[in-house]
Structures are given as C-alpha cells and as structure tokens.
Symmetry: D2
Subunit: 440 residues, 4 copies
C-alpha cells in the first residue's frame, strides 16, 4: 500500500468505543470502519485497467469514520480546539460539532478552546482559554466568524507543546489553512520527539478550496455562492451605464476555484483571470485590452472577475509584502487592472463607466449556507472519530464524496489548483466566451 | 464491459465538432472525451482488489463531455425541449444552458420549447410551442418555475413521436423525473421501431434526489437548503411555547434525502421519519409517542421532520389515490402524526402547543441556489454534447463528481434510497439523538 | 385637551434622569421631551381649518421620549418583561433593547424575564423567571422567536399582581397583542386599586398591524416581506402549469394589512380577500368564481391571496372555535375556497392545477428585517423612557413617524382596519385588477 | 396658502378620467382627490396652537392621487421615461409601475424610455429609445439596476427640449437625484418659455434619502437593509481577531441617513461619522483615536461606520474632484481613517487587525426589498395621476405617510440632513455609546 497516505497512530486502541454500531452488513445499523477500508484516488476505469495490468496498487486514502476501539479513555481525556488564519464560513459549525460529538457521543466533557489562533497557546499573549460545552456552543452555527477568534503568524512550536503538556491536553484540533497545517505538523513532530501521548488532528480550512487531495473544503461553497450574488448585482451595475465595466476581485491567492465556480453559477462574467493562467498580456492584438474593447463596442458593458493571485507577473520587479502568516501578499491586481483599463480607454477616446469591487471581507465572515453547514458537522464528527481512535498528525478530508483521513504531510505537500485542461475550466471558458489565452 | 450501462447511438458521427479542443494532455486545452473513458461505480480499494483477483470488470459509467465528431449537422438540426412533472429549482437554468450551448457552441439556431410538459406534444391540447433563442432565455435562470410550463400524466407515445416527425425535430431534451424518463424511454423505443434519426436525451429532475446511479440531481440542494431555513424558524416556534411541538412535512415520496440533509444542516431536529425506515410504532414503551413524551418532559420542546412517504404502513387498508402522473399519492403522514400526537398528549393530560407546517410548494418553486445553478448549466452542456454526438435513449448524470451518460433504462430500473447502514443515516441519527428504531 | 388620550402617571417624578440631554434647541444635543409636546392625529390642512374655525381642539397623542425627571430611583428599581400571544418577528429585538436601555442608560441592573407569557406570573405553572443582563441578550436580535417564550390564555389578574408584589417588581413591560393589552390594563387597574407603585407599559405586538391609533406595529413589515417572497414563488408555481391556480392564506384575523401590503409589493396577485370586504359571493354572474374563470380562460394562471379572517360569512351557521386566548378561530377560508374552486371547475369541465399554501408559522418565527429591527429598538427605548418617568397603563406607539404614548384603554378600544375607501385599498385594487366587489 | 409649495399646471383639465372612483365618503369606493386637499408640514399640536393664535396658515403640501378631470387625452398622449445618476434599488419597479399605470389605467399605450439618462435625449450620443409596454416590463421589478440605463452629467437643456418636441412627447418622467431634478426644472422652465404643452414630473431618486420635504426616498430602505447585513458580517470579522477593527464606508455624501439607520438596525457599531457632524478631531484626549484606543483596550474589537461625506474637513486644502454630474467627489474618508488608525496604533505599540470595506456598488445595484417595491409602485402611480392631470414641474413625494406633490423648486431648494438634535441621532448615539463630539 502506498505509504505516502498512511495515517500514523499513537498506539494500540484498547478501549471499546462508547458508540454502539453494527458489525455486519444487513443488520440495518451502520458499521464500524475497518482500518483497511480505503477510497481510490483515481476513479477512472483506465486507472483500474492500468494498475491491474501492470501489477501496481492504485493510490488510495484511508476511509474516515468511527472505529470499534479507541485509544483515549473518554472520562480522562481533555480536548482542545484552535482556529487559525483568515475567517471562513463554517468555523463555528465545526467548533460546535466537535464539542457535541465529544460530549454526547464519546462522553468527553473536558473541552477547551484556545483563543485567537496559535497565540492562544503562547502564554505571553495572555489570551485565556474558554471552556466549551453544549450550552455555550448551541447556536453558534447560526453565525459567521469564530467564537474562538483567530490570528495569523508563526509561534514557537516548543512553547505550544509546552502549553499542551502543562494543560494536560490529550487531543488538539487545529482548524486552519496551509500555514496552520504546517505548524500542526511541526507540533505533531515535536510531540513525537517528546514521546507524548497527545494526538493532533487538522481540519483543513481554506476558503480558496486549494488543499491537496481534498475535494472540497468547508466554507468554499458559501464563499462562491455569496460571490455569485455579488456578480449578479455587479452585472446590473455594468449594464446600467453605457460602456459600463465592472471589475470584481475575489479570493484566491494560488488558485481560482472561487472565481471559477462563481462565474459558472452566475453566467454573466465576460472575462476571468485566475492564478493558474500564469502570465497574460494586456497590450497587442491578442491582449486582454483589445478583447475588452471589442466586447464594449459590441455589447456596451463588460464584467471582469479576477482572483487576487492572478496576474502577479505584472509585479515581478516589485517588492512583495508578506502577511503575518508569512504568505506572500499579492499586489492588488484588481486596482492594477482598473488603472490599466482606465488609461487604455482614455487613449482610445472611448468613454467608459469603470468600477471596482473587492467584497472579500463580506464573504469570509458570512454564515455557512446549508450544504456547508452539513459538511462542517460531518467533517467535525469524523475528525473526532479519528483522533479518539488515536490517529495523529492527520487531517480529515473528502474524496469522491467519502470522508477520508490523510497525513498532514500529504495535505501540505502541494496546493490543489485548477487544471487548465479540465472540464471545469473548459466550462468556465464556455460560459465567459473569452479567448483561451491572451498572448500575442 | 458491462452492457447494462452502454449508451446507444443513432449511428456513426461524421461531422467535425464546431467546438475546437485539444487532443493531448499537456497542451493546456481541454481534450475531447473518448468513448472509452469511463468512471468506476465502486470507488473502494476493496472493489479494485476483488475485481483484480476474480478477473472481473468493475461496473462503470460512460464519461460525458464533448466528442470530436458529431452526428447531427448543426445548421440542419432542429432541437426541442420539454419540462415535465412537478416544479423543481433549476428548470429554467437547464433550459437556458441547453439553448446557449446549442446556439453559441454548436451553431444550432433552430430550437423550440414544447409547453406544459408532454401535453405540448399532443395536438389536441393546443399548446403552441415557443421558439427559444439567447435573447428570450437570457435571464430566466434568475427565476424559479419553468418558462415552458409543465404537466403530469401519461400521453400517447405514438402521437408524441408523430409530433416530433411532423415538426422535423432531430433532438429532444426531456427534463423530468421517473415517470418522464419512462415515457422518454418509450419514445426512444418507438423512434427505433420507426427507424427515425431522432435522438432523445433525458435530464433527470427529481427534487427528491432518488434517481438510480446518479449521485445528485439538480434542485435537490436548493430544496434542502430552503427546508433547512424553515427548520430553523420552526425551531424558534417550538421553543417559543412551553411543550412546543412542531411537525414539518418535507418532500420525499420514496426516499428521505431532503429530510436527512436538511436535518444535518440545521441540527435542531429531534425526530425524523423517512420512507426507508419502513414500519414504526407509535404506541408502547419503545414507540415514538413515548420517546416524544420523554423529550417533552426533559426539554419542553420538540421538532419533528417527516418525509411525505414515511409511515405509509399506517394507511395500508386505505385506498391510495394516484396523481395525474400515476404516482401513488401518499396519505398525509404529517396530519396523521399531528392528530395522533394531539390525542396522545390529551390522554396523558400534558398540555402541548402543537403545530404543523407543509412548505413543499414554497420550496419547489424557488430560484436555484448558486451551486445548483452551476450544476444545471454543466448538466445541460453535457446533455448537448451527448445528443449532438448522436447518443440517444440516455440520461446525463454525475458520479464521483464526474459527469456521465447512462441509458435511460438503467436510471429507471430502480430508485435511489438512503441506505440505513450508511454514514449519512448514521450522522442523521447522531444529529437527532433518536433511537435507531421505534419497535416494541 | 382630549382626555381620551391622556396617559396616567404614578406620581411626581423627582429624580433627575441619568440621561444627560440638552434643554435648548440649537445646542446640538437632543432635548428632553416636555409633557406638553403632542402629535396631531389628523394631518390634513382641512382638519386645521375646521378646528380653528369651530374653536375645537384637535385630537393629539403625547410624544414619547426621555423626560428630565424620572419617578423610579434606578438603583432601587426592579424591572420585569413578559411576552404573550403568538410569535412575531422582533420580540427578541424588543427584549434586548429594553434590557440594554435599562442597564446602560438608566443604570437599572435588576431585570428579570417571566417565562411563557402570563403563565410565568402564575406560580402553579412553575416556570422560573430568567435574569436578564447585557451578556445574555447580546445577540438575541439575530434570531426569531422569543427567548422568554410565550403562551396564550387568560390568567388570574389578582394572582399576577400578587406575583409582582411578592417579587418586588416596580416596572413591568407587557409585549403582546389585543388580549395581552386588555390583561395589562386589568393589571394596571388592580395595581391602582391596591395603591401600589408599580408601573405597567404595553408594547403592542400584532403581526396583523391592527392596533388602534398606532400607525405600524413591529414585525408587520417583516411579515409582509416574507409573504411577498412566498407570493413570488407561488406565482412561479401558478404559471408552471396550464390553468395553474394558487391560493395563499396569509395572517389577518380582523384586518388585511399583511395581505394588502404583500400584494402591493409583489404585484402578481389577481384576487385578494380580506376581512374588511365583508360578505362576497362565489356564484352568479358577478361572483368570484365567474371572475376567476374569465381570468383562467384569458391567462391560464391565477394567484389568490386570502387573509385568514376573510369570508367568515360562509361559516355563519357553524360553531366557531376559540383559541386559548379567547380569540375566535376563523374557519379555514383557504381550504373552503380551494374546495369550492375545485368543484366549480370540475362542474365547468375545465381542468385546473389547484394548490394551496399556508405559510403562517414560517413567517411569524422569522428574524426581524433591518427596518423592523431598528423600529423595535426605538419602541423599546421609548417604552423605557415612559415607564421610568412613572407613566403607567400606557402603550408606546408611533404616529406620523413620531413615537407616542397613549393609554392602553385607547389602544384596545377598537381595532385598526383597512378603510376600503383609502388610497391603500385602491392601490391594491389597481394592482390586482379585480372588481371592487363580488356581488350579484 | 403658502405659494412656495404650489404645483403648477399646464392648463384646465377637461377630460374625464378613465379611472372611475367615488365622490362621497361612505360609498365604499376611493374618492378623487380635490386640489384643496393638503397635508400639514408640522404635525405638532404646538404648531396648531401657534398658527391659530397668530392667525397664520401652516405650511402644507398638496395631496397626491387621481383627479376626476385630466389634461391629456389618453389616446393622443405620448409618454417618456428617463433614469439618471447613480443606480438605486427600485428603479425598475418605478419604470414598471409607470408603464402599467399609463397603459392599463389611463389607456396611454404610447410609451418610450430614453436610454442612459439625459444622454438619451441628446441625438449625438445615438442611444436609440426603447418602446415600453406591459410585456417587456412585466418582471423587471425582480431585478436591480435600470433597464433604461443611466448616466451622469449635464446636457444641453435646449437640445433636450428639442428632442421632446421632435418626438411629440407630451409627458416626461425624470427619475433622478438632486442634479437630475435641477435639470428637470430647467427643462420645465424652457418648455414654459416655448409655451409647449409638455408636462414634466420628477420622481426623486436618492439612495441617501436627502431630498428636501420628502420623508423617505425609494431605495433608501433597501440600501440600509443591505448595509445592516454587511455590518453584521463585519462584526464577525472584528470579533474574530484580537484587537480587530473594521471600518465600513457607506453611502452619504451630504447626509448620514444610511449610516444612521444601518447602525440602529444592527446595533453593533461603536463609532459612526456622518457629514452632519462637521469637523471632528482625531488627536488629543477627546479625539477619536483616544476613544478608539479605550474601546480596544476594553473590548478588543471595534466597528466603525463612516458615511462617505463625513470628515471632509481633513481634506480642505486638497483639490476636490467632481464627478460627471458636477457633484463634488468626497476624498476617501474611509482610506484616510484606515491610515490614521494604523499609524496611531503603531505609535502606541498596540497590535491591531485593521480592515476596510466599501460595499457601495453591491448595495446600490440590489433588487428592491418588499417595502421599497410597494413604495415604488405607489410613487409611480401617483406621478402618473399628477402628470395626467396636467401638473408639471413637480415631484411626487411622501409626508406623514401621505403621498404629495410639490414643485421641483421646493425639492431642490435645500438638502435634507440629519438634525443632530433629533431623536434619530440621539438613538444612534445611544446605540453606539460614543461621545457626542470628538473635540478637545
């Protein structure tokens, strides 16, 4: 079996799970998941044939779910939760469901939340932790944001592990993106070095939907749904003026999933730019500005969606800022495009009504929509099943609609991006009708 | 290869597709789909091993998408669309995307819509057809309902095929549920018998999400999202009164997907009943009423969700009505439960505030939410790709997030239901906390 | 001055208000309201001339707002809140704003909420009261329902006043409709008889908007806004079928304000029935059914909105049920109309698709929309200003967009109804295009 | 009678209105409005007494509504509509209702819409006009924007009147703000000079709600409702980070109505700045920055709402840009505050998480909410009643909830602003808890 995707465990699970399930198919009761149950990475028939013929094993992921035996004795287990990085719809749903699952299903009553991300594990910040129980998380899923607060930025791994030890934490749920998962992995490594019996589970949070080997991340659908509505309004604005041009900057530092999905769902976008497209040209016969001019002359309005990480080649000789998490902050491609478009049409002596919208902070703080709410609660439940079984250094994910566990290291090895040869991108191109590339 | 899932075609495709795609992986352009590309039905590693070891071929579905060669010459092709059965969010999105794809991508300009379902193909109803083109479908995706109208009920297959012949229709899109697909299949058979070159594509429409071998049907997510909000409000109503009890009847004649997903997304439901549960008991120590009483005594409010097809065993000696489509109309389990609960608590001398909601007609006529809107447009595009390539008697579906084609016959062979041993149902049970069965 | 509208007070206000305001116009600070400030009932110039010429005083209402001197010493004041009757959007907003205003502006820290309406003041029900303070009401305005719960039904006035005495309550806010205000007035009378220094303020809650001398009641706009969306969806449903007919029953036992406003805001309704219309006929040349038939023959779809209190003349020989509050429960005019329409078209041999929706419980439990949220907080603040100044037996209202105080007795003397000769009703008739009456 | 508010007319109305109404109170049918019916400006009892005692006539506005006799012969009347300036929710609702009222109630079938604001009346722009009839405006009220498009900027009055003459326009509806109404008034003056029988009606459109003598303008409630939701999300964002500070810039060049109402409806704002506040100070003991610091130290998050026209004194030595309409474009107070706050906390060595949102273009292009939708249709109907009766140079407004007509000159004489001594502003101050002024 491919060991890249093998989830590590703290040791043998010896306690019978308090969750009573069936053992056999056909008794009408859900069964415990066996360690051997796995989901194929490649779902094509071709992959089946190839592996069969070549005698290779296909890549696969461990299936998530409740195990018959667990590692931690519930009444002696102390759990902690931390939310890190940018806000994302569904954070409170995940917190709530972790607490409910631990409390009611596993009988773990000792649960705390560290405040303001990893800062909460560093004593010098003096952020007190919060005790979590059903009553104080009961209706938090109806609100955006995170009741625990968040923060960006690296903290000392050693100090954080000290805090876990000092507080007798047995299990820690880290809800966060790429940077958070990297830190969670270092925490996991340090715990291993210290030979502690503390388990670490990551719940990948990326509004951009760009975690490797994970089909869909929570909050993403809410994000592109909100963006879709905003595109609808922007379309009204563009059509409302002669030669009306709207630029909407959406989230997506390294990948354009939000931009692409919002474009597909609203069907009014004429040009889309995402990081995966790489360098494109503004000037020249086949450049973007000429294409925009043709559109304006034909229809007298245009809608442009740009992911924040697109077009960074325009800034390559400039100094890149980093945010507190160490992520490179993209130069503002939205404002850049606005200025280029404005001066282009001025040169062309074509009067346009040009406007720019950046709705990011309205989107990421929204309440999770129904499908995300459901997804968050299932992610949280599965994270609890895995960690109670003693799994550690893992994240919970989803693949082919089946919940999975995979090593944090696999999830952070690369970033998921839109394949420009995929059906998704082709459908986006069909929806916008834009040329496949802007190159002379 | 498993022939159950082989899609039939009208003949050899000889025209080069007007859609220009790549041929090779790596050129940055989406590639034509080859007839041999298929998606595995069973995504588990176990299935791989079993098939490999036993020398069997796994079940698989044909992958949807644009083909290099098409059967119909676009400029000579006349297309028709019909929407049948109950309303479902996304109907207009599907109509719009079929028209846009035919018109702009395949250059098929001759498109009509039959009005009011299959009635529109029967001359005696005198429903004139509507010509469809980009201008008159441009913003219909922003509205619920169907601009073509719909109807229930069987119509003469022969007469409908006559209408297709008389109007020189080459391709027909039937958007509808189980009954519609059955009729579409009969139309397909009759066309074959008459040796006509007319292709039939089904786009499965079931708000209940219960089409066989199709992971998700359009409108379903919108439906459970609206239901989720209504459950939230009903929860306010239940908590607003001492011993407040709310019953919400949701759609689901044969399957409980809407009820289950709405329950998971709102997390406030205490009892759920779906058709798949089969018979349950009201009376006795382990009956539902006793469980409800305990809940009321403990928390003083309760929320009950019931799918319309649940609990039909209570009516087994009664005469079942059929609707115009010939579907058995379930007796009203919501009103039945309301009456039983009312008299039970009266007998128990416990005063309750009991209310009943049936929001179906508000839900099914709603505008599609963003994710459904995107899904509808992709379904429609793929239906067009398939039919233009000469495929017929097929439906477009989705499996493991990949669009597929499968014979109508496969889609109507059985109904998809919630497996009571699945993770989905277990998660619902965890969310409600109700006993696994109500039997003494 | 007209004494019908004179608000009574417990005695002289001797404490300086902790709210520091200006005394003079022009200093840029809001001024204390003087007892003499009043708002005219009739806003027409004609009324001015008539009163001037005849030497009469026009009717007017006392202006609400902060007074310079207050009756209750804040640190010794204990306040109580109770919510009664049916749910209504905004209840939590009112509760929250009363608590915030008392706590932060008047320094009244001792605030309790009686649970489940007037039942909470009757010891035999054993509903414990809840202490209220900023932390536990902080985000309740984001949710529908009432955190205090509600109930219908008469309770012993004596026992309730006993409870107020025993708990040393000084001020009581009764949030409720007609029945609640009648009870609040009896409580006020009993307090007067016992010579207690307890003040009673009513905050009129009627989703139907039918309180006398009060321009607009809270929750009403939210209600008709939700109804408006539902009418939009119902319109999709009606148009979706040949001869599609939708009946939507809306709230409104004695008045049709919700039905009328929702009709005006969505503009898709073809027939509306409200209680104020009195008796109308179904049969005959000028009866409703004939008008509906003409509409169906012309447009093939129709939308009918009916307020629950309309058409009660059809039931006049039947026994009327009363609800727990003693209100006469209207017979179900929606179901009655549905049956009459169904059998009429059957007789006429016209096939129709007829559906019926009753969305009341979804509407009344909704979260208040922004304008209602603002209105609730202003109502609550003004109720606090009045009661702290020692006013009692009063309700807070609004007239010509100015907040007012008036005696409970005035508010319950009659019910506000739609004047069939008003511009509002005329506009509704213009929007539906229906005949002014259905009489032969 | 006060002549400032007297509406001029083109001449004697000699045609009987096709709208059949009652003449007497009590016949159950709405009555024609008499020219003498007027609404009092000052609704206070004090004003009654003062006018009575001093023998003066109170200010009053003409009451809007259908007249018995009209000036224009419907079948010979050609109507035109134009929408100018910034987008505003409800534009399409107003257009639709004008068309419906003219077409169905007055039998005026000849209606056109000039495109892109006043540009549409200037031939050199070559914007063709659009014919308007019920079928093509039927569902436009469900969408934001304006189907006619809009533009900013002055156009030649002479040329516009030429266009009206050349096209035989009899009545023109100008939907627009302050600048538009000024131009409409000049058009009216020019028409008078030319002795033409063309009537001009203004429908005041100001999302900022700042038209003189008009209680409420359409789109305003939608605007503050959307802003209210955004404030709720921003609050999540602020609370989500330690020392989280959010700045939200809202519309309001000369007045802070949107900011004030949104603040009252969401109740989470800590500091609000509006143009009416005039100069305020940032530095010093009583400056804003110190107050913000105290808030941050106490609660660790803060929400700041700033109307775009606030704090312009900070830019007084800078050059002011003007937009195409000639309005002074305010310097960006939001970005200014963001920079000042950032550097202040940097100096103070307090780490904050500071973010800025400008949601204007998302708000103004939104679909009108139900109450605005109803209001728009009533405004439009009353505009039609007035203009058909031959009134000209007038706007339709609302006062004390009664629709009114007043001369355009009165509406543009001044701008409505928030009175800092009003209850509204005091309630805002109570909601934010901020100091009444920031001055040392």
């Amino acid at each position: 079996m491919d060991c890249k995707f093998e989830v590590k465990s703290l040791g043998r699970s010896t306690f019978k799970s308090p969750i009573i399930l069936g053992y056999d198919k056909g008794d009408g009761i859900y069964n415990y998941i066996m360690e051997s149950e796995r989901v194929l990475y490649d779902k094509s028939l071709e992959s089946f044939t190839k592996n069969r013929d070549e005698g290779t094993m296909p890549l696969s992921f461990e299936k998530a779910g409740p195990r018959e035996f667990i590692f931690f004795k519930p009444t002696k287990t102390k759990a902690a939760i931390v939310t890190c990085g940018g806000l994302c719809p569904g954070l409170n749903n995940v917190i709530r469901s972790i607490v409910m699952e631990l409390y009611y299903r596993y009988d773990v009553k000792n649960i705390i939340g560290f405040q303001y991300g990893f800062e909460g594990l560093i004593s010098s910040y003096k952020h007190p932790y919060i005790e979590l129980y059903p009553e104080n998380v009961d209706d938090i899923h109806l609100h955006g944001g995170s009741i625990l607060g968040s923060s960006r930025g690296d903290q000392s791994i050693n100090e954080m592990v000290d805090t876990l030890e000092k507080n007798n934490i047995n299990i820690l749920f880290c809800i966060g993106g790429d940077g958070t998962l990297r830190a969670a992995n270092l925490i996991y490594e340090e715990i291993k070095k210290r030979k502690l019996k503390i388990a670490i589970a990551g719940i990948p949070k990326t509004i951009d939907n760009d975690i490797n080997f994970i089909e869909k991340s929570f909050g993403f659908e809410t994000a592109f749904s909100k963006a879709s509505n905003i595109i609808g309004n922007a379309h009204n604005e563009a059509k409302g003026y002669y030669n009306g041009i709207m630029i909407i900057k959406l989230m997506g530092r390294d990948s354009g999933f939000i931009a692409a999905h919002a474009t597909l769902s609203m069907q009014e976008v004429n040009f889309i730019f995402i990081p995966e497209m790489g360098a494109f040209e503004l000037e020249g016969e086949n450049g973007f500005l000429n294409a925009l001019k043709k559109r304006i002359e034909l229809k007298h309005h245009a809608l442009i969606v740009v992911a924040e990480g697109a077009g960074q080649h325009f800034f390559k000789n400039q100094i890149h800022e980093k945010d507190a998490s160490g992520n490179i902050k993209p130069n503002d491609i939205g404002i850049f495009l606005k200025e280029k478009i404005a001066s282009y049409f001025e040169d062309q002596k074509i009067s346009v009504s040009l406007k720019y919208i950046d709705p990011s902070y309205i989107i990421r703080s929204a309440t999770a929509i129904a499908n995300d709410s459901k997804f968050c609660s299932q992610l949280a439940q599965n994270a609890v099943h895995g960690i109670m079984a003693g799994k550690t250094g893992f994240v919970v994910g989803i693949w082919s609609d089946i919940f999975t566990y995979l090593p944090i290291s696999a999830a952070i090895a690369d970033r998921k991006k839109i394949d420009l040869e995929s059906e998704l991108w082709w459908n986006v191109m069909e929806a916008t009708g834009q040329p496949l590339s802007f190159k002379n």
